[in-house]
């Protein structure tokens, strides 16, 4: 269980995390989603005490991270793939971190096997690819077999096989009753892994709900209709007030609030020819984009929206 209350972090005049409250519960994979610069990594650094909150608190099983008796056994953390000395081998890195908690070599060998690093474990980390660095970071997080796992962008740089492996690992560990907190800026990835999603934008929580709910929100009942008689059909469809019709081209309308079958029947009784009748199911990606539309700090194209405010 991770609980944050009023968690705030300011760097100078810039507010990275703006008084957020959330709880990450055990037995679930909780996805932490947001555009670049939304404050995901800062939040994760605050959780494990690498940064000091400007205000608010965050606890792990009721305790501050620094007060944990045995941090590695309670919390495993992957903050970024580069938290390793490049001059040391993966094996020696794991051995050194394990030694602080008197974790034996057997467990070190175990996490190396678990993350598929056997063939490169004796090589210096400086030569590792992003994906291998990521595996080493996950291996480090798993050393103490912790009940809480915090992974910042764990699939970053992994090959498809590695992505599936992380997904299975996260699901498996959650099923064992552990608390799994993953960040990502890829909604599609989260849709397949997470049970619960917390969406962060510009340091604030935009949504905190089960994946199914967020998906339902996005999956409206929009139907795309293409017909040469668009204007007449639009009028016919407008009868119930909850139905909205938007015309996007002379022969194209989008209908909300009616099923495609109903639209088809109305068109048939009025003898209107239809060229297309397509139910548009919103994706999680759409939901995410809709949610974060106003919260993206760095838009492509080089305009800095925040600077104007």
């Amino acid at each position: 269980m991770i609980e944050a209350t009023g968690l705030t972090k300011r760097y100078g005049s810039k507010t990275a995390v703006d008084g957020i409250d959330f709880a990450v519960r055990p037995g679930l994979v909780t996805g932490f989603l947001g555009p670049n610069g939304a404050g995901k990594s800062t939040t994760m650094r605050l959780i494990v005490g690498l940064d000091r909150p400007t205000a608010g608190t965050v606890t792990l099983n009721g305790q501050r991270y620094a007060d944990l008796k045995s941090p590695l056994h309670e919390v495993g953390v992957l903050l970024d793939a580069k938290a390793v000395h490049t001059g040391r081998s993966a094996y020696n890195h794991l051995r050194a971190i394990a030694a602080t908690h008197r974790i034996g070599r057997r467990r070190v060998d175990e996490v190396i096997a678990l993350t598929g690093l056997e063939s490169v474990a004796r090589k210096r980390v400086g030569g590792f690819s992003l994906g291998m660095g990521q595996r080493l970071g996950i291996a480090t997080a798993l050393l103490g077999d912790p009940g809480i796992l915090i992974l910042d962008e764990p699939v970053n740089g992994l090959d498809p096989e590695g992505v599936i492996w992380v997904r299975q690992l996260a699901r498996h560990l959650a099923k064992e009753g552990r608390t799994i907190f993953l960040s990502s800026h890829l909604m599609s990835e989260m849709a397949q892994t997470a049970d619960q999603i917390i969406v962060l934008g510009r340091g604030r929580i935009i949504a905190d709900a089960p994946v199914a709910d967020i998906l339902a929100q996005a999956t409206g009942t929009a139907v795309r209709v293409r017909t040469p008689d668009a204007a007449r059909l639009a009028q016919l469809l407008h009868r119930p007030p909850e139905v909205t019709v938007t015309q996007s081209a002379p022969d194209l309308i989008e209908v909300n609030g009616l099923a495609s079958s109903q639209i088809g029947e109305i068109a048939a009784t009025s003898q209107i020819v239809l060229h297309e009748l397509t139910p548009v199911t919103g994706s999680l990606e759409d939901a995410y984009l809709a949610l974060t539309q106003d919260e993206v700090e760095y838009h492509a194209g080089g305009t800095l929206e925040g600077a104007a405010q």
């Binding site: 390793v84 020696n92 602080t100 678990l114 056997e118 064992e176």
Partner: protein, 294 residues
């Protein structure tokens, strides 16, 4: 490089049996932190290189100096013989301190440069034990290296020095005090540099600052003192780490004098001044480590 196939879920399952940690939990301990820091120090090539260079420089320059002394046979009075023996045995300290200073900075700045510090502090979230663990491991390593370096040099020099009429007497407590003083000097310089590295958190900046303090500042003050003939400049220079600490490995340096207002520290005073330098650097580093974001 290629990566082997990712483990199947069954392998994951075997390693994580439901809820119960398979690992025997001992927890975080200071002993564990010391072992961790020892592993970290000795699994980097820079450590091995630094130690090899210290030894090679000390032995090489020591033998050169002894050989030079041996080529000028003569008779020297007893106390002066011991004093000479100390001087040639510790001649490599001047160069060794620079290498140990670099090592001291790198021990901590290397972690900041690579991001390793985040792994370190995630494992030791109270932070100060990690800093102390590093300092202790560095001190013990420097002391051991210093002992081998200085006594090794002294032993290698024996045949050359006896040619010059210098008979090193290892039973002389004052000789051992001076040689051990050299060992302590090296460790204290390493610790002070470690503190500087922890404050600056950047390898290039840390090394520049530490070497500036050891090499540049004494020279600048010396020139300044020679030009102005101001006693206060000379007195300030006397309290620099190199000058104050230098008394640690001077034979029978007992008298602290103040001739015409110019202070000259003795071995104990000089040693304490150097201890203060190292202590202040590490205490400031500790205070900053507690406050700063990592």
């Amino acid at each position: 490089m290629t990566i082997p196939a990712a483990p199947t879920p069954t392998r994951i399952a075997s390693a994580h049996q439901s809820g119960r940690p398979k690992v025997r939990v001992v927890g975080l301990s200071f002993g564990g932190i010391l072992v961790s820091e020892l592993i970290k120090l000795w699994t980097l090539r820079s450590t091995v290189w630094c130690c090899a260079i210290v030894l090679a420089l000390a032995f090489g320059i020591g033998l050169l100096a002894a050989g030079f002394a041996g080529s000028q046979p003569g008779t020297i009075p007893g106390a002066a013989q011991q004093s000479q023996a100390v001087t040639v045995a510790t001649i490599g300290v001047i160069f060794g301190q620079l290498v140990l200073s670099v090592l001291g900075v790198l021990v901590i700045s290397g972690e900041y440069g690579t991001g390793m510090i985040r792994s370190t502090l995630a494992a030791v979230p109270k932070r100060i034990p990690a800093l102390l663990g590093k300092a202790i491991v560095l001190a013990v390593t420097s002391l051991a290296l210093g002992l081998v370096t200085i006594y090794g040099t002294a032993l290698l020099q024996l045949p050359f020095l006896s040619n010059a009429g210098i008979h090193t007497n290892f039973a002389d407590p004052k000789l051992n005090l001076a040689l051990l003083g050299g060992v302590a000097y090296l460790a204290l310089i390493a610790l002070m540099s470690f503190g500087i590295g922890a404050i600056i958190r950047n390898s290039a900046g840390g090394i520049a600052t530490a070497l500036g303090l050891l090499l540049v500042l004494p020279t600048v003050l010396q020139i300044f003192a020679a030009v102005t003939r101001a006693t206060w400049v000379q007195n300030v220079a006397e309290f620099l780490p190199t000058n104050a600490g230098g008394h640690l490995f001077t034979y029978a340096s007992t008298a602290s004098t103040s001739v015409a207002g110019v202070i000259s520290l003795n071995a104990t005073e000089g040693g304490l001044v150097l201890v203060a330098w190292a202590a202040v650097a590490i205490v400031v580093a500790a205070l900053l480590l507690r406050r700063r974001d990592a």
